[in-house]
């Protein structure tokens, strides 16, 4: 996996909540046995009209967002199916960072992204940033107000800066283990295999309860 430390790019909006992975990459593209080629099919049913032409109504198709690499969206992004193809599609379509709002606090805290999707992002170098609903609303407004609005994500310092007329910076939380992996571009399997002796020792006493 390629390391990611900072990224600067144009921000594009997707003003919908609960965007599920069926929308990010519909089932007909899941038949591929390759890991590449999914980019043009991201958001397929919204992105194209039935004849296959780009849908001018779909906001991400607007020319002002043609060179975007940061997506700002609403809560519970990536819910539903576990298909990692959704993350492959977004990454291959040029998205490096996705921003979504969390809700509530304490025991009522609900993250901005669905679990499996967020985890899949971490395996593919896509940064998922969670901010408060008010902060995300600020970003939406800034994106609508200023064509070509850019933002910089500094993962090391956990800061997102909007380069609008006035610069605004938000701090964000990030899981320490995922951050470390993204910063160094580490391979999970290689890391885990460092503990192969622990796995072997565990297997000597652990019952898997299977009749072979």
């Amino acid at each position: 996996m390629e390391a990611i430390t900072t990224h600067r790019g144009i921000v594009a909006p997707l003003d919908r909540a609960n965007v599920d992975t069926d929308q990010i990459i519909p089932k007909q593209f899941l038949k591929s046995i390759a890991r590449t080629g999914f980019g043009p099919s991201a958001f397929f049913d919204w992105r194209y009209v039935l004849t296959g032409e780009p849908n001018p109504e779909f906001e991400l198709n607007k020319p002002r967002y043609a060179d975007r690499s940061i997506l700002v969206t609403r809560n519970n992004f990536g819910c539903g199916s576990s298909r990692e193809h959704a993350v492959w599609a977004l990454a291959q379509d040029g998205y490096k960072v996705i921003i979504a709002p969390y809700r509530g606090e304490g025991d009522d805290f609900i993250p901005g992204f669905a679990d499996i999707f967020k985890n899949n992002c971490s395996k593919n170098g896509v940064v998922t940033i969670e901010l408060s609903e008010a902060q995300v609303e600020t970003i939406f407004q800034a994106v609508y107000d200023e064509e070509g609005l850019e933002a910089t994500v500094d993962l090391e310092n956990q800061q997102l800066t909007l380069h609008g007329e006035a610069e605004v910076t938000f701090d964000f939380e990030y899981d320490a283990s995922v951050k470390n992996k993204l910063l160094k571009g580490l391979d999970d399997i290689e890391e885990s295999l460092l503990f192969v002796e622990d796995i072997e020792a565990f297997e000597k006493t652990h019952a898997t309860w299977i009749n072979q």
Binding site: D15, R16, A17, N18, D20, D22, Q23, P26, K27, Q28, L30, K31, S32, I33, A34, R35, D45, N75, N76, C79, G80, S81, S82, R83, E84, H85, V87, R103, D107, F109, I110, P111, A114, D115, I116, N119, N120, K123, N124, D175, A176, S177, N180, D188, I189, E191, S192, L193, F195, V196, D198, I199, F202, E203, H206, A207, T208, W209, I210, N211
Partner: protein
């Protein structure tokens, strides 16, 4: 310290606590299907790694397979290539495969319990979000992405952060004709599709204890639709009877079984165990549920009108409007007066023998409404065989249904079974997302009994009071 069912399973599987706050967790069973595995096997090939425990890895084909009489020959060349890739990968790595034409082929979450691959107290994963189904046995089961599939193949472990625990207690008894599908839809309607994110549900209470294993699987299956990583139900006599009743080849035997049972009996949460979150629902007040929108949290009681823009907790007016437009509905409309085009009984949520018995009991001696199409798709070839032994196939055929072979079928329409744009479907599956059952298709999620009654009436009915001819 008092422990929850989840804690007991988790603690039993920690290989090593890692300095970054994650744990290396041992995985006891890995289920594999054709869609989310080819890139993982390719990753192993490229790095020269081997499958660590092929004997703990089980594989079937379900998403792509046709369920009509052409099932043995897949026409779509891309689907065919994917199925063939799984055959090759299993052969090269010595993995059990229940492929097309095999007597035990079926939906991965139906055959796991059926074959005794699923027993209590395990960690079980699959590259499929409905892996939560297996939690019905008191086993920690969750869906993973393809990178993690590769990780499990190579290491038989996963690196995981410990999730939170969320107890959902259903008190009281269900009303007649109300089922576990209604319980879980009700729950998702209450907490939303992100309400359980970061948590593992434990379903408990009188109404849960009273459920059969098959009904428990339906509830746990849809945990992911509530955002949760997994759903658990404590193993009890119902669980043990299911595991031991029939010939399930992978259930331990003899002394090994006795030792396992000792641990399994100790799995239920301690009485004073603490949960991060708790919710209590009175099961006796649950009505049959129908989803009206494009998210499983958009559900109503069957006798309630379709809600207005400001009447859906957790969804913005804009989202409700988009859903109403997509579904071709208006606020205030009654689903009991809205004609249906297709009724689909099947999927990993509701395609087991008990689901088919319930549907058949409604359809017995009746005919489907003329204008609609009724599909019944058993979850496995074994379910199909059992249904035929009981004569259920004859009931379905006499009612005008299509009686199919096993597979995921119209739940996700990755195979030839799909909705045409704007077709309206009563479905016993799990997701009513836009386009889920076919681009432009409109899905209403219901229980098998509600689906069967809707097939006869041509529209939804309140199964509690419905008599044909009303």
């Amino acid at each position: 310290m008092a422990k929850t069912l989840f804690d007991k399973i988790w603690d039993r599987h920690v290989v090593r606590e890692l300095p970054d706050g994650t744990s290396l967790i041992y995985i006891d069973r890995h289920l594999v299907h054709e869609v989310t595995s080819p890139q993982a096997f390719e990753g192993l090939r490229l790095t020269g790694r081997k499958v660590r425990h092929p004997e703990l890895t089980f594989s079937t084909m379900d998403h792509n397979v046709p369920t009509d009489d052409t099932r043995l020959t897949i026409k779509d060349p891309i689907s065919k290539a994917q199925v063939e890739a799984l055959e090759t990968n299993c052969k090269e790595n010595g993995i059990h495969l229940y492929g097309i034409g095999d007597d035990h082929q079926g939906i991965v979450h139906v055959i796991g319990p059926e074959m005794g691959i699923t027993v209590p107290g395990l960690t079980l994963v699959c590259g499929d979000s409905h892996t939560s189904t297996h939690g019905a046995f008191g086993t920690l089961a969750f869906g993973i992405g393809t990178s993690e599939v590769e990780h499990v193949l190579a290491t038989q472990t996963l690196r995981q952060k410990k999730p939170k625990t969320f107890k959902v207690e259903f008190t009281g008894k269900l009303s007649p004709h109300v089922h576990s599908k209604d319980m879980v839809l009700k729950l998702i309607g209450m907490i939303g599709t992100a309400g359980g994110t970061g948590s593992v549900f434990e379903f408990c209470g009188e109404a849960v204890e009273a459920l059969s294993m098959e009904a428990r699987m339906t509830i746990c299956n849809m945990s992911i639709e509530g955002g949760a990583k997994a759903g658990l139900i404590a193993p009890d006599q119902t669980t043990f009877d299911y595991i031991l009743a029939e010939d399930r080849p992978f259930v331990p035997k003899g002394e090994a079984l006795e030792k396992a049972m000792e641990t399994w009996r100790k799995l239920p949460s301690d009485p004073d165990a603490k949960f991060d979150r708790t919710l209590t629902i009175d099961a006796s007040k649950i009505a049959p549920q129908v989803s009206w929108g494009t998210s499983p949290g958009m559900v109503i009681d069957v006798d309630a009108p379709v809600p207005g823009l400001e009447e859906v907790p957790g969804y913005s007016a804009g989202d409700v409007q988009k859903a109403l437009d997509y579904m071709g509905l208006e606020a205030g409309q009654k689903l009991t007066e809205t004609p249906l085009d297709i009724v689909f009984i099947g999927s990993c949520t509701n395609s087991r023998i008990e689901d088919l018995r319930r549907a058949a009991a409604v359809l017995d001696g009746k005919k489907k409404a003329e204008h609609l199409r009724l599909m019944v798709v058993p979850g496995s070839q074994q379910v199909r065989k059992q249904a035929e032994a009981e004569g259920l196939d004859k009931v379905f055929l006499a009612a005008g249904a299509e009686w199919r072979w096993a597979g995921c079928s119209m739940c996700l329409a990755m195979n030839p079974d799909k909705l045409a744009p704007q077709e309206r479907c009563a479905s016993t599956s799990n997701r009513n997302f836009e386009g889920r059952q076919g681009a432009g298709g409109r899905t209403h999620l219901v229980s098998p009994e509600m689906a069967a009654a809707a097939a006869v009436a041509g529209h939804f009915v309140d199964i509690r009071t419905w008599k044909e001819g009303n």
